[in-house]
Amino acid sequence: MDSVASVRDSLAEVGYLADEPAALVGYLAQRMGKPVLVEGPAGVGKTELAKALSRATGRELVRLQCYEGLDESKALYEWNYRKQLLRIQSETQEEAAGGWEATRGDIFGEEFLLTRPLLRAIASPEPVVLLIDEIDKTDQEFEAMLLEVLSDFQISIPELGVIEARTHPVVVLTSNNSRELTEALKRRCLYLWLDYPEVEREMEIVRLHAPELDERLARRLVEVVHMVRALDLKKPPSIAESIDWARALLLLGADDLDRSVFERTMSIIVKHRTDVDLVAERVGVKLSGPGLEAEAAG
């Protein structure tokens, strides 16, 4: 992958239609070896971008899912204390010789180290794609801990010394923007804002994942999804939900998106009670054909 266009093409080959900025940043991330911070609303394909990058480059994907209370022992490494205890006990039974020095050198060896995603990504002999998902869910202390990994690609373990990356991983961090990340973290990253795609691109995406769907119907569907997104909803429909909806229409054998079909299948894209009311009221009435009630009455 040695140009922006080739990045975009190889992403498209593995089923991810990247827009211009996404392809460009993906390319820069590889060239410059800098992590990418991807922000955007839920369901625009942030995580999918990392997965597609790993598929396109043939690298393994190492994923660290963040959550509140995530700490070093879950993200970096942990000493396997059970195994260490066993080692100590078995030694005292056989021969107490060797002394403390030997034992310490023994039980703090790589054999007793449990690698967690970050250490695994750094220590891997093959280059990997490291996905740090929903970084905004963690607290600031964890972010600070990440800084060493992200800028120098190394991890220091007091008992073992510094473990440096053998190969340069491509790092993708995603954030749903639920809190402001620290300046220090942002400074080390390239920034990519992914937004809902425009009608044309979303149509391509839907057609890629549901190829049997009639083109006219696909366009109609994407237009309706865009209308729904324009409303002030609690949870606007994501790209994945457009695809689900397209597949559902295929299964139902619908050949047009009229009002009754819409009202029946709306729950695939709108998942909040108050949103359902609002969408039925604002979008449903714009579609042609009789509504459910009218049909039932007739």
Binding site: E20, L28, M32, L85, E141, R179, D232
Partner: protein, 460 residues
């Protein structure tokens, strides 16, 4: 800092100057970002305008807000740069209207609509020039760019909403119209620069472009957008707090587990992670005419923040009290919320004057069983009883049953307890009372109920 090798000598200083302007607009662009930008520009074909812009954006603008400012500045900065260069070299385009013979306005209008529908940028730019030329012949040019843009737009009949009278004209996409407007604006500026032979002074972006909505006349979507920012700031504040105030509860299970590392001796204590406090909130809002706008705005903000709270119930009162939680769950439009509150609330019985005493009696009956130490009561009102019995003792009982009671007064503290205001009688039973008449006051208060410390006092 030496100029990077792969770039032409003129580019690096321009990029640095651009970053200077970004800093002046408040973006945190550090030296490391500028170095990144250079490194990135060497890796891409920077002669492509879009690639150049995206590369710069990815390296120096690191939030959506920053990106918005970046876009505004980028256009202005590099447009001005190229115009300045053109002036210096005496390049002008004055014959460019040669092809634009007396074009029919209706034809032009149709062509513009066509280009906007198709989203064709090059076409839009050409048509913007034609439109300016045609418009100029009518002799209505005011010379002020902003005014002219709006006049041309009106003449061309570009509207986002379809007009009721003529159904055959479909509505155009708002985004696309904005893009066309941008072309218009740029072409007008270009013409102005050619006419006057000098660049207009560059101004910092208007404060208006970034201000919070202040008046309740805006629709709820705008409030939601403003609140989204507020929410993010609050979320971050909470985290800082947790870092500093390390007082925490020891987690026995994790401490024991950690002690196995040290042979069963608990050398390192493990603490239970602190969860942000999500209070259960009862809001009572005075909606008599003197404070309506403040209360409805306040209620909307609280409802926009609803997922920060475990439960949120809202009540409005004048003479009587009435629950309006449902209204906010179903309505998103500000004016219809105001209407429904005034029509369905049924809170003004006879005189339309606030009766605090009666309100406390009713509220106590309605809700006192559900109050517990985890609940928070927020009252928004001016505490002006119109000379009626304040029933401060009933209020005291309600306040006692709940965990915290806050009073927000939309009047400046100076006016409290003057005239018929009985603020002092109520304030005694409250956890705290705040004045609340600017967005900053509001932000401060929301921060307090979400568990944070009060922000630094407003200097103004």
């Amino acid at each position: 800092m030496s100029a990077p090798e792969g770039l032409p000598p003129g580019l690096a200083p321009r990029v640095v100057a651009f970053c200077e302007e970004l800093r002046a607009e408040g973006l945190a662009v550090g030296t490391s970002e500028i170095l990144d930008a250079f490194e990135a520009l060497e890796a891409i074909p920077w002669t492509e305008r879009e690639d150049f812009r995206e590369t710069l954006a990815a390296t120096v603008a690191k939030s959506q807000e920053d990106r918005r400012v970046f876009e505004l500045l980028f256009d202005r900065f590099f447009f001005r740069a190229s115009e300045a260069e053109a002036l210096q070299q005496g390049i002008s385009e004055s014959e460019r209207h040669a092809g634009g013979e007396a074009l029919d306005l209706d034809e032009l209008r149709e062509a513009v609509r066509q280009a906007i529908r198709e989203g064709n940028d090059g076409e839009m730019r050409d048509l913007a020039r034609l439109a300016i030329a045609a418009f100029g012949r009518q002799g209505e040019g005011s010379g002020v760019v902003g005014v002219d843009v709006q006049r041309i737009r009106r003449t061309l009949g570009l509207q986002t909403q379809p007009r009721a009278a003529e159904g055959e004209e479909p509505a155009l996409d708002r985004e696309q119209i904005t893009r066309f407007e941008r072309h218009l604006r740029r072409e007008l500026e270009r013409a102005l620069i050619e006419r006057t032979q000098k660049l207009p002074p560059s101004r910092p972006l208007a404060e208006l472009d970034r201000a919070l909505p202040t008046s309740p006349a805006q629709d709820l979507a705008a409030v939601h957008r403003a609140v989204a920012q507020l929410k993010r700031r609050l979320a971050t504040l909470g985290h800082e707090q947790r870092g500093r105030r390390r007082r925490a509860v020891v987690d026995m299970r994790r401490t024991m587990r950690a002690s196995l590392e040290t042979g069963g001796v608990p050398l390192r204590l493990r603490y239970r992670p602190k969860r942000p406090r999500r209070p259960e909130i009862y809001v009572l809002c005075d909606v008599s005419t003197s404070v309506t706008s403040a209360s409805v705005f306040f209620l909307s903000v609280l409802h926009a923040l609803h997922d920060s709270f475990r439960r949120l119930r809202s009540f409005v009162f004048i003479e009587r009290i009435s629950e309006v939680t449902d209204v906010f769950e179903h309505e998103r439009d500000f004016t219809s919320i105001s209407q429904r509150i005034s029509s369905e609330g049924g809170v003004a019985d006879v005189s339309g004057y606030t009766d605090y005493g009666r309100v406390w009696l009713e509220f106590g009956e309605l809700i006192s069983d559900e109050l517990d130490p985890r609940s928070t009561i927020i009252v928004l009102g001016d505490a002006r009883t119109n000379g009626r019995e304040p029933h401060a003792d009933v209020f005291a009982r309600v306040a006692e049953r709940s965990g915290r009671t806050f009073w927000l007064n939309p009047e400046p503290r100076l006016y409290w307890n003057y005239g018929d205001s009985v603020m002092a009688a109520y304030e005694r039973h409250c956890t705290a009372a705040f004045e609340c008449w600017t967005t900053r006051h509001l932000e401060n208060f929301v921060n307090v109920i979400a568990g944070g410390q009060p922000l630094a006092p407003d200097s103004a």
